[in-house]
């Protein structure tokens, strides 16, 4: 639960959407990297070709000595008009050099056999008032930079030409983002729909497994994609098997109960024939204890099966009634009166739990004090005694079935400690718990807490 909350994409549809988004993004990024590279190669070719042609042309005429001024060829033709002669290398301070272009132009000049030991290519913003652009072709609207390419001549002067430079890489990123978003919109909705179609039956399955009470409700409807329906069908079969097993267990326990009670009843009848009174009493006590233990085992084994329904019950009257039953049998048990306290519970089961606690106290301490407490969250029945208590390190152990503390709580009859385990199981089934505590001044307090 906490993990799911911290990481919302843990749900099936979330993970599928996230994974798809990631895959789409990577594919788009690869796509655009390739596109970008192609565009750059193209741009390089578009710039390098004319630049080399102009520079070769101009330097040819330069070496033939026809031109003297800083402007080559005046305005007679396009090529020459775009090449200027500079006395020294153009200033590159604060501007970006395009080394790829430099290298390409240099190798182009060499191939053409034209002079040029050094080439400088720089990018700069277009000045709209610049005559060549203003007069001839105005720059295309998406071009706001020009590239200036200058080649050093053997005499130390530089020939320079300018060409428009398509930037557009920021635009590309935008297009990547837009395209990706459109893809997301087109893909994610169907993916989410499919994921939900898978996830909804899975959620139902989880819920059905959580509240599974054998034999309680109908099997789940098999819907969704085939993989999921197969899972639901398997769950339904599992559930039928579990129910059948539990029914079988109930039948077996019923048979065991009957088959053990019959000889016990026969034994009980025969015990009346024992003449020695103390011997007879002890033997009867043993049979009664066996009967109670058998009852505890059967109850523990049946716990959690549908049975008694929860109703509004006065917990104070319940504790009182249990105490009264013990007093009627001559046990020394006291009850501290408590006003009516209505709770929703299964009265027979809770009564059983309280009876076991009192029985335990009476068995080990001879007396028991029972009281009812409440606060905003829970109601408690406290069964306290002044017996030997339980060593602190064994307090948990006695709540496990079949544990008995031979060393500290000696008893003359045989038997297993099922009473407290059953009481705890009943309390937990009711959403509460059973706590044991050693009392100040000696003795044990068993606290049966139930949620309000």
């Amino acid at each position: 639960m906490t993990r799911a909350r911290r990481w919302p994409a843990r749900s099936l549809s979330g993970q599928m959407a996230l994974l798809l988004a990631l895959a789409l993004f990577i594919a788009q990024a690869l796509n655009f990297t390739l596109l970008l590279r192609e565009r750059r190669t193209l741009r390089l070719a578009q710039v390098t070709g004319p630049a080399v042609a102009r520079l070769v042309d101009a330097s040819d005429r330069n070496t033939s000595g026809r031109s003297q001024g800083d402007r080559l060829g005046g305005e007679r033709d396009g090529h020459r008009s775009r090449v200027r002669r500079l006395a020294s290398a153009p200033s590159v301070a604060g501007l970006d050099r395009e080394t790829q272009v430099e290298a390409a132009v240099l190798s182009g000049l060499r191939e053409a056999g034209a002079p040029g030991s050094r080439v400088v290519a720089i990018l700069r913003p277009i000045n709209p008032k610049d005559p060549p652009f203003r007069r001839r072709s105005p720059p295309p609207p998406d071009v706001d930079q020009e590239i200036v390419i200058a080649a050093e001549q053997p005499d130390g002067s530089w020939l320079m030409t300018r060409l428009p430079w398509w930037g557009g890489e920021a635009g590309l990123v935008w297009r990547l983002a837009m395209q990706t978003l459109i893809l997301y919109a087109a893909m994610l909705l169907p993916v989410l729909w499919v994921a939900r179609r898978i996830a909804a039956p899975l959620r139902d399955l989880t819920a059905a497994a959580e509240r599974f009470v054998p034999g309680d409700d109908a099997p789940m409807a098999e819907r969704g994609p085939p993989d999921v329906t197969a899972l639901v069908a398997a769950f339904n079969r599992l559930r039928a098997r579990v129910t059948a097993m539990l029914d079988e267990k109930d039948r077996m326990l019923g048979a065991i109960g009957h088959d053990l009670r019959t000889p016990l009843a026969a034994l009980r009848v025969r015990l009346e024939g024992i003449d020695d009174e103390p011997d007879r009493r002890r033997s009867i006590g043993l049979v009664e204890e066996m009967d109670r233990t058998l009852d505890d085992i059967l109850s523990l084994a049946r716990l959690g099966r549908p049975g008694e329904l929860a109703t509004e019950v006065d917990l104070a009257a319940l504790a009182d009634a249990v105490v009264e039953d013990f007093r009627d049998l001559g046990a020394n048990v006291t009850y501290a009166d408590h006003p009516r306290l209505a709770l929703r519970l299964r009265p027979t089961m809770i009564r059983r739990a309280v009876r076991n606690l009192v029985e335990n106290a009476v068995k080990y301490a001879g007396t028991a004090e029972v009281r009812v407490e409440q606060d905003a969250r829970e109601a408690r029945i406290v069964v306290a005694d002044r017996g030997p208590g339980i060593p602190a390190d064994r307090l948990g152990a006695v709540l496990e079935p079949f544990t008995r503390l031979e060393e500290s709580r000696n008893r003359d009859t045989g038997g297993i400690g099922l009473g407290l385990a059953l009481a705890r199981a009943i309390a937990r089934e009711a959403g509460g718990d059973l706590h044991l505590r050693n009392r100040d001044g000696g003795g044990l307090a068993a606290i049966l807490a139930l949620p309000r």
């Binding site: 109960g257 009957h258 009670r261 019959t262 000889p263 016990l264 009843a265 026969a266 034994l267 009980r268 009848v269 025969r270 009346e272 024939g273 009867i284 049979v287 009664e288 009967d291 009852d295 059967l298 008694e308 109703t311 509004e312 019950v313 006065d314 009257a317 319940l318 009182d320 009634a321 249990v322 009264e324 039953d325 009627d328 049998l329 001559g330 006003p339 009516r340 209505a342 009265p347 027979t348 009564r351």
Partner: protein, 238 residues
Amino acid sequence: MADTPHLLLVEDERSIREPLAAFLTRDGFRVTQAGDAEAARQRLSAYAIDLAVVDVMMPGEDGLSLCRSLARAGTVPVILLTARTEEADRVGGLSAGADDYVVKPFSPRELAARIRAVLRRVRAGEARPMAQAQAYGFAGWQLHTADRALVDPGGVTVPLSTGEYNLLLALVMRPGQVLTRDQLLDLTQGREAGAFDRAIDNQVSRLRRKMEGAPKAPDIIKTVWGGGYTLSAEVTRL
């Protein structure tokens, strides 16, 4: 009727039937045994049986069915022996028209005491109770026999001790009838432990306190001076 009451003991388990018959014979009864319902019917037509002790779980026709047919005939009172602990099963027996029941393993002395109590009631000419209902309603309260629950007019279950329940059930099943302390002891204290008149008084006062704890609780259980107790409210079978 002879001085020695004649019992019919219907029980399929010989290990229980024979020692029990021996005990009851020693205790002053004449006992005829039957191993199943068919044999029981033969004995019933052959002898003048005063009371039948019937095991619930028997192969063939079970004890409840036999009990129902005996209750319909209305001549032989029945005490059921049951091995099941589920409360509903115990009461199933009473709603089948049994006069009383004991749960295995039972004390033979307690069984003998209960047999005598039922015979005493029959001899005194007391009306045998009608087959027990699932629930009784009186003055807004309900007494459910299946789970031995007293439910107040607001729908809240008020658990009762066994003694309190038995006392209230005895009163509810005989509305308007005055029951003396002796009769109440007889009806409610099947166990061998000696019970005293004061125990009845004590239980009545406890019952009154529990029922007065809720709103709109009139004096449902009335004390009859010099006599005993009676349930003043009108009772309906639910």
